[in-house]
């Protein structure tokens, strides 16, 4: 079995350690394809070195910023000057096409925003001295995300998944003085390990049934309609593991506790990045599912939306409410996967584009919303995210309230925000595939969503303040200020001048 694995065409880089074959694999093209993960990984290694001496530790912010900027630039190159042959490298196990460029831009942006919002977040916390470890764990998550989104091989995806998940388990428990944070880390770890096991078991079954781990070959065999029951079971298990990471019903129950307990900047990263990365690979996995699964997936997605939205209605904590809202949004984006299944899987580029738009808008919005909550938590102390603590926020901290209101309206999908056009594209995919009932139920469920988004806005703008106004000048510090402004700009740009991204998406197909 092991011998077989290493000889699979398109298997990961030869584990035998043959340096010669490694050198042959690292063509300039492959380097360009892996530019963003390599830049981030280099940043991680340099950070490790820096932390050894207190003097060099001071350059940490510059180092993180440089790594993120380099990764963003490399991702942008993939979009601006697409590599030949769709960017397929390493014998077809990794595809660095323009779509991956867009995905990784979103991941890098999410990581950068989460990092900026984490500035000052831990300052009163016992974990404050370990900010270096925090930053390097944070910096390694987008490496995993990019590998997940670009994987065309079941094992490459798994490597990416673990590269993402293991740092996140640690980050979730990062405020170890707080029981909820430790609880979040433990829950995420146990359930995440369970999902990883599901994934591996599914991949093993797929391999056993068809003798390959390459997505293209698997898709060709499954597409011929001759998939054995064993392979179908494997595909279902892989899909279940992805559903766990995307938080689709019934694999969503871990989300509220983990999102609420984790440090809020980490929550922002989880909601914006993890889901998107797993979803990008779900689109590939769709090729393994029969077209008849379209309606099952759509129904699951709608149930996810219903569960997320209805549970969010009764929450008393804004962070937990947004956690449920992120479940609902996962349902929304999985509707795009259902639309993909319903049609010809080969014409997936347009739907992938719709999902990218939706998730890019969601990345800015969710990072912004959780980021503002993180900032409030840091400034006003524990319990600042309870809804009644937000009463009259517009009087006390007008800019925080205005930004949070903008993000909430975008989450709900008001026109002139990125959330609206994302919703338009996803529902447009459903309409294009003639799944009108799913579209109608979906939009009606997003009316429910507004009930709780508005509840926060009501608290902030329409109720009298309970706490005294802060001193003037206490409103912002640099990191969160810049990150909040960037999120707001992103949300508005995607909503008002969507031309650039729309055209780029159009070119994907």
């Amino acid at each position: 079995m092991i011998a077989n694995l290493t000889s699979i065409p398109g298997g990961p880089v030869d584990p035998g350690g043959d340096l010669g074959s490694l050198a042959r694999a690292l063509t300039p093209e492959a380097l360009a394809a892996l530019g963003a993960p390599l830049a981030l990984a280099a940043g991680v290694v340099l950070l490790l070195a820096c932390e050894l001496w207190p003097v060099t530790a001071r350059v940490r912010p510059a180092l993180v910023g440089a790594a993120l900027a380099a990764a963003a630039w490399c991702s942008w190159r993939l979009v601006a000057e697409p590599l030949p042959r769709g960017g397929l490298v390493f014998e077809g196990t990794f595809a660095a096409g323009p779509a991956l460029g867009l995905w990784s831009l979103a991941f890098v942006a999410a990581a950068a925003l989460a990092w900026a919002f984490s500035a000052g977040y831990y300052r009163r916390d016992a974990s404050a001295p370990f900010k270096g470890e925090h930053d390097l764990l944070l910096l390694s998550t987008p490496v995993g995300m990019i590998l997940m989104a670009g994987a065309r091989d079941l094992l490459v995806f798994f490597v990416g998944l673990e590269l993402l998940s293991i740092p996140l388990y640690a980050l979730a428990a990062f405020r170890r003085a707080r029981a909820t944070s430790v609880e979040a880390g433990l829950k995420y770890f146990l359930l995440g390990a369970f999902a990883s096991a599901l994934y591996l078991y599914g991949a093993a079954l797929l391999y056993a049934s068809s003798g390959t781990l390459a997505m293209a070959e698997l898709a060709a065999r499954f597409g011929a309609g001759s998939a054995p029951a064993l392979g179908q079971a494997g595909a279902a298990l892989v899909a279940a593991a992805l559903f766990f990471k995307i938080s689709v019903f019934p694999f969503h129950v871990w989300v509220p506790d983990v999102y609420q307990g984790s440090p809020t900047p980490v929550t922002a990263l989880m909601s914006a990045g993890t889901k998107a990365a797993a979803f990008a690979f779900l689109l590939r996995t769709c090729a393994l599912l029969p077209a008849s699964a379209a309606w099952s997936v759509a129904v699951l997605a709608l149930i996810t939306m219903a569960v997320g939205n209805l549970a969010a209605l009764v929450q008393e904590d804004a962070k937990r409410m947004l956690a449920y809202s992120s479940i609902a949004h996962a349902g929304n984006v999985v509707l795009a996967a259902a639309a993909l299944l319903a049609g010809d899987p080969r014409s997936s580029a347009a739907i992938e584009g719709a999902a990218i738009y939706y998730l890019a808008a969601y990345a800015f919005t969710a990072c912004g919303a959780f980021g503002i909550l993180a900032w409030l938590e840091a400034a006003d102390g524990e319990g600042a995210t309870r809804i009644e603590a937000l009463d009259g926020l517009a009087q006390r901290r007008p800019w925080s309230a205005a930004l949070l209101a903008l993000f909430l309206l975008s989450l709900g999908g008001m026109p002139l925000t990125g959330g609206f056009l994302g919703k338009w594209l996803v529902f447009g995919a459903l309409v294009e595939r003639d799944m009108m009932p799913a579209a109608v139920v979906g939009v009606l469920l997003s009316v429910v969503a507004f009930a709780y988004y508005l509840r926060l806005i009501v608290a902030m703008t329409m109720k009298p303040a309970r706490a005294a106004a802060p001193r003037p000048g206490d409103e912002w510090e640099l990191g969160p200020l810049v990150a909040g402004a960037v999120c707001a700009a992103g949300v508005l740009l995607l909503g008002v001048v969507p031309g650039w991204l729309m055209e780029t998406i159009e070119r994907l197909g």
Partner: protein
């Protein structure tokens, strides 16, 4: 810059300029002064907009059905359909009166806030100006996606206006208003996406042309599209049984919010019915017309009965709105010339009369801090000028000949009578019922002895209040004596619309001509409607 784009976006620019002002009210160091600056700036911007709106109205050529003063800029291209979405504005006979009414009413609303908006003034003005852009854009957009942007974006400002500056139960009312309207809007969104992706364009004139092609909408598609659009508009109008959000929103809104709501926002619903449900899907409109006429007529009577039972003056006027908008819907769905003209006229009339009534109730409330009818009596003794204005507004609302309401109601009844006499009869009884609740409320409030001592301290109208009511009063008299001033502006567009309806009617009567969806719908009302106005007659007009 083109005048339509200027008209639409000037208020938004004003709102952005307002944001730059220092915070006012109790927080800022220069509180009062800053509030006055915000008011003055808002008044100047809306005043300029009103001037542009009035100039647009005067310069509009009513005999033509074509879009005038079009403004077009590329915006972005939608995937799948490759439909270019444009920043496209234009005005025709259906929208010119509503756009002008919006522009003219808003500065009066700004003036009216002097009395009742005394906290967070700057914020209020920002929302009001944003809303004005939303409303003007809704009426002037000639691109469906742009229309939807404006349509839904105009929801948010009113949500804040009611929620922040409203009465005691404002949070409940504003949430109900928002969610009700949003539910309808989102159903429309699915229809909009469907339509744009199927027709591969989002320009409203092109879509209208496309939808009239034989077989374009498929066998059942037309009916679903019609119903999805109608859901959004029926909730906004509001048509019974979707009306329950309106009394709450009206009652809890600040006076200015009520005036905008009654004057313009509800008209977005009837305008949508006219532009999309009738203009874009005439075959389906013919098929569903009996239902809409029934809902309109029942709404007239039901709203009137509701109004009779009210003690709260604002709630009473809100219920009368339900009744009056029933006339509009009844007239529009009569689908003949008098009905359409009457409906369009009533849209403006209701905005003026009900707007004036809400302003007067607001002024009374500012003095007496009550709107309950049983708290009043004898107001005419202490505030005679107020009483005179109130009686004037009531008579205008009740449709006294010589004032604006009469012509519109008459045309609506005439149009309805030609196609559905029973519903016309119900509607006509509504005229009497309207007089009953309006006049009995007037009697209880104005006349008789002064029952409560506080009423004695109700002062009469101040010059500012007179100044803001005079333009409305003048328009009420002008349109009563000279309704042609309004009707002529829409003549060309109404004639074109009638021609479309006539073509759809012919097609529905003879399915062999085309497989239009209207012919296959159950209970196709077209066959039952007597051909009151034939196609030749319609074209001749």
């Amino acid at each position: 810059m083109d005048s339509l784009a200027l008209l639409t976006f000037l208020p938004l620019a004003g709102a952005l300029a307002l944001l730059a002002l220092p915070a006012g009210g109790e927080h800022g160091p220069h509180g009062r002064r800053s509030d006055s600056a915000a008011r003055a700036l808002a008044l100047a911007v809306t005043g300029l907009t009103a001037f542009l709106g009035a100039r647009l109205f005067v310069g509009f050529d009513g005999s033509s059905a074509a879009l005038q003063r079009t403004f077009e800029r590329d915006w972005f291209t939608l995937p799948w359909s490759h439909a270019p979405v444009r920043l496209a504005l234009g005005v025709d006979g259906l929208s010119v009166t509503m756009a002008a009414l919006t522009a003219v009413l808003t500065p009066l609303v700004v003036l009216s806030t002097w009395g009742h908006v005394d906290r967070r003034v700057k914020e209020f003005m920002v929302w009001l100006l944003v809303m004005e852009t939303g409303m003007l854009g809704t009426f002037l957009a000639t691109d469906l996606v742009l229309f939807y942007f404006f349509w839904e974006a105009s929801l948010v400002p009113l949500y804040f206006i009611v929620g922040i500056w409203g009465g005691e139960c404002r949070l409940y009312a504003t949430l109900k208003f928002f969610l009700y309207t949003l539910a309808g809007s989102l159903l429309m969104l699915v229809a909009v996406i469907w339509l744009v992706q199927a027709a591969r364009t989002s320009s409203i004139p092109e879509l209208t042309e496309w939808a009239s092609r034989p077989g374009a909408l498929g066998a059942r598609g037309g009916a679903w599209l019609f119903l999805a659009f109608a859901a959004a508009f029926a909730i906004k109008v509001p048509l019974i049984p979707f009306h329950t959000w309106l009394p709450d929103a009206h009652t809890e809104a600040p006076t200015s919010g009520s005036v905008i709501l009654a004057g313009v926002l509800l008209k977005m619903g009837t305008y949508g019915l006219l532009r999309f449900c009738i203009g874009m899907f005439p075959a389906q409109a013919l098929a569903f017309a009996p239902w809409f006429m029934a809902l309109g007529a029942v709404g007239i009577a039901y709203g009137a009965f509701l109004a009779m039972a009210q003690n709260d003056l604002k709630r009473l006027i809100a219920c009368s709105s339900v009744s009056h908008l029933g006339y509009v819907v009844l007239g529009l769905f009569a689908l003949n010339q008098p009905g359409l003209r009457g409906g369009l006229l009533q849209m403006v009339n209701h905005g003026l009369s009900t707007g004036l009534l809400f302003l007067l109730v607001g002024m009374l409330y500012e003095r007496r801090h009550s709107r309950m009818l049983d708290q009043f009596g004898g107001v005419a003794l202490v505030a005679p000028a107020f009483a005179a204005w109130w009686v004037f507004a009531v008579l205008s609302s009740a449709g006294l000949p010589g004032l604006n309401g009469f012509v519109g109601e008459y045309l609506v009844l005439l149009g309805a009578w030609k196609v559905a006499p029973p519903w016309a009869a119900v509607a006509a009884s509504g005229v009497i019922l309207g007089a009953v609740y309006l006049l009995s409320a007037t009697r209880r409030m104005l006349f008789g002895p002064v029952v409560h001592a506080e009423t004695r301290h109700v002062g009469d109208l101040r010059p500012r209040e007179l100044a803001l009511m005079l333009p409305i009063g003048a328009l009420i008299v002008w349109f009563g004596v000279q309704p042609g001033a309004l009707l002529d502006k829409s003549a060309g567009s109404i004639a074109a619309l009638e021609a479309r309806i006539a073509r759809a009617r012919v097609a529905a009567a003879d399915p062999s001509i085309e497989d239009g969806a209207g012919a296959e719908l159950p209970g196709a009302g077209a066959a039952e409607l007597p051909a009151a106005i034939g196609p030749q007659e319609a074209v001749a007009r």
